[in-house]
């Protein structure tokens, strides 16, 4: 299942290690996560559901869906998709016994900081860099083992403004961002905690209290931050159809993580659901990884993504069916095939239009929902903005929410793109720093420049949805006096 030859990526598998999975020795490479190593070993069923005992497999790959929980070295409910595998680790799935009632001692650490940034994707790192350069103390926390968020799996070149790195591959941008933030870390400007989850907001006022934990190292952090920037990204949307929880049904991001970060094929033959940019790009990346793509189906009457991506797929013989969707996925313990059918104008399946697609993988690319739970715990004003992907925190032009000192950036402020996320991150970082150090003519000019560039990026025809989302958010912010 491991990819050896890839047109863009090289996978350095330097050190081979092994771990125990339910008593069996499994080979892995250093740098892989537990779930990806299991996948590479052909283990697709990662757990069974608690009531109906249904098999569950890899779905999101970024610690959001909790389908891959296992007991690792005795620690219960570890999200194995974001936990790096270590030599000699003991991994157990479907453990029936309760964990020990004896609490092991935990290490507690208090951290007081000027600015806490939650999430080290394009928005979060950009915010940390911007703030770190301005002489305030910054703490950057992310639950994934690697920094860069979803950029680390974007092998395609970005569109948009040249000034904002158009024409550069996402993976390269992630490297550059990491380099810059690591430099600030070396100089003591930014403290970075990867593999650590911020799990709760516990009250504010002149400063904000949050809890974070690194459960594999058994450390609990009590964070006291003057300002908090939430850049928590998004989670993949699910669809409701029979068989939607079978192992082999993946989110598009999960597929990208497996093949572009860890060099592991999700399967042999894929049915892609959704012809937006994500669906089209991931389909092409699957072909690059040597996986067959049977077809792409799209419920809307037209293709949502850029025509250049659609053309690339068609040139490679992958058909795209608009006004079609998945009716059912079947298989015992894992995907063996899917029934797709045509949709009428009322979104009902047209009888007799069913087709049986033989595949071992169904990939869902049906949109994202902003991750904003921690913001909601902080009590920010929120609203449902369909163009933003769901409920989002209402924020002003400078990315501050209705709660003083709480900022938001990137997908968790409304689904958009990495390039705009980076700019929103810079704005949030600048804005939070200014609130601590004061505003002068140079920071005012910088802020104007960032906001102007962001507006320019949204001006194109493909920015129309985000433009509308942000228009609504800003209008509401202005009405609310935020």
């Amino acid at each position: 299942m491991r990819i050896d030859i890839h047109p863009i990526l090289q996978f350095d598998r330097e050190r081979e290690i092994s771990f125990l999975y339910n008593g069996n020795k499994i080979k892995a490479f250093e740098g892989e996560t537990i779930a990806s190593a299991l996948h590479a070993a052909g283990i697709k069923v990662l757990s069974h559901s608690i009531k109906l005992n249904r098999p569950r497999g890899f779905f999101c790959g970024i610690g959001k869906c909790s389908s891959c929980l296992m007991r690792v070295n005795g620690v219960p409910n570890v999200r194995t998709c974001i936990t790096p595998v270590e030599d000699g680790m003991v991994v157990e799935s479907d453990v029936q016994q309760l964990p020990s009632a004896e609490f092991p001692g935990s290490n507690k650490e208090d951290i007081s900081v000027d600015i806490l940034v939650v999430g080290a994707g394009p928005a979060g790192i950009s915010a940390a860099i911007e703030a770190g350069k301005r002489g305030v103390s910054v703490l950057l926390v992310d639950e994934n083992p690697m920094l860069g968020g979803q950029l680390i799996k974007q092998t395609h070149k970005f569109f948009g403004s040249r000034k904002e790195r158009a024409g550069t591959r996402g993976i390269k941008i992630a490297e550059e961002l990491e380099e810059q933030v690591r430099e600030l870390e070396k100089n003591g400007k930014v403290k970075i905690l990867p593999g650590t989850s911020v799990f709760g907001y516990y009250g504010g006022g002149s400063s904000h209290m949050l809890g974070a934990a690194n459960k594999m190292s058994n450390v609990m952090y009590h964070i006291n931050a003057k300002k908090v920037i939430f850049a928590c990204g998004a989670q993949e949307n699910m669809l409701s159809f029979p068989g939607n929880d079978l192992p082999g049904v993946y989110g598009a991001g999960g597929v990208q993580t497996l093949m572009n970060v860890y060099g592991i094929k999700p399967g042999k033959r894929v049915l892609m659901i959704g012809a937006g940019n994500v669906g089209l790009i991931v389909s092409y990346q699957l072909l690059q990884a040597g996986v067959e793509v049977d077809r792409v189906v799209e419920a809307m009457p037209r293709i949502g993504g850029y025509s250049v991506h659609a053309a690339k797929l068609r040139r490679n013989g992958v058909p795209i069916y608009t006004s079609h969707s998945v009716k059912e996925v079947y298989g015992k313990d894992r995907v063996e095939g899917a029934i797709v059918a045509k949709l009428d104008e009322n979104w009902n399946f047209v009888e007799g239009s069913e087709e049986d697609v033989k595949c071992d993988t169904v990939c869902l690319a049906v949109g994202l929902t902003p991750s904003a739970r921690l913001l909601f715990q902080a009590g920010v004003k929120r609203d449902y903005i369909p163009e933003a992907g769901g409920y989002v925190a209402i924020h002003n032009m400078e990315m501050e929410t209705s709660v003083k000192g709480i900022y938001v950036a990137g997908d968790s402020s409304g689904i958009e793109e990495a390039s705009t996320a980076m700019l929103e991150g810079k704005i949030a970082g600048l804005s939070a720093s200014i609130s601590l150090t004061g505003r002068d003519s140079s920071t005012t000019a910088k802020m104007e420049e960032y906001i102007k560039t962001l507006e320019e990026m949204r001006r194109g025809p493909f920015g129309s949805k985000a433009r509308e989302a942000k228009r609504k958010i800003l209008e509401e912010a202005s009405n609310e006096g935020i």
Binding site: K64, S66, S106, F199, A213
Partner: protein, 90 residues
């Protein structure tokens, strides 16, 4: 079987039944009755889907469906880490 909540094994039929037969009209009521969104993922996967079903069944817009209350912890944290005694060796 259409699974809506992966953590708690709640199906689309379960949700429809709770709305039609038990009179649930909000996501919080579905949570109280079915544990919808109370599993380890804290509703990340199921809530957008459940909101759509609720809107369809009650004749409301999705924008009129209020979210459940979000409380810590948003990810699974061992109780020992939250409440355990501090290691005296440190």
């Amino acid at each position: 079987m259409k699974i809506i909540c992966r953590c708690e094994d709640i199906t689309e039929e379960d949700i429809i039944k709770a709305i039609r037969e038990k009179g649930c009209t909000t996501l919080d009521e579905l949570k109280h009755l079915l544990r919808l969104g109370m599993g380890p993922c804290q509703g990340r996967t199921c809530i957008p889907l459940a909101a759509r079903i609720l809107a369809r069944e009650t004749g409301k817009k999705v924008s009129e469906i209020e979210l459940q209350t979000s409380r810590p912890p948003v990810v699974p944290v061992p109780l020992g880490l939250l409440a355990g005694e501090e290691d005296e060796n440190d």
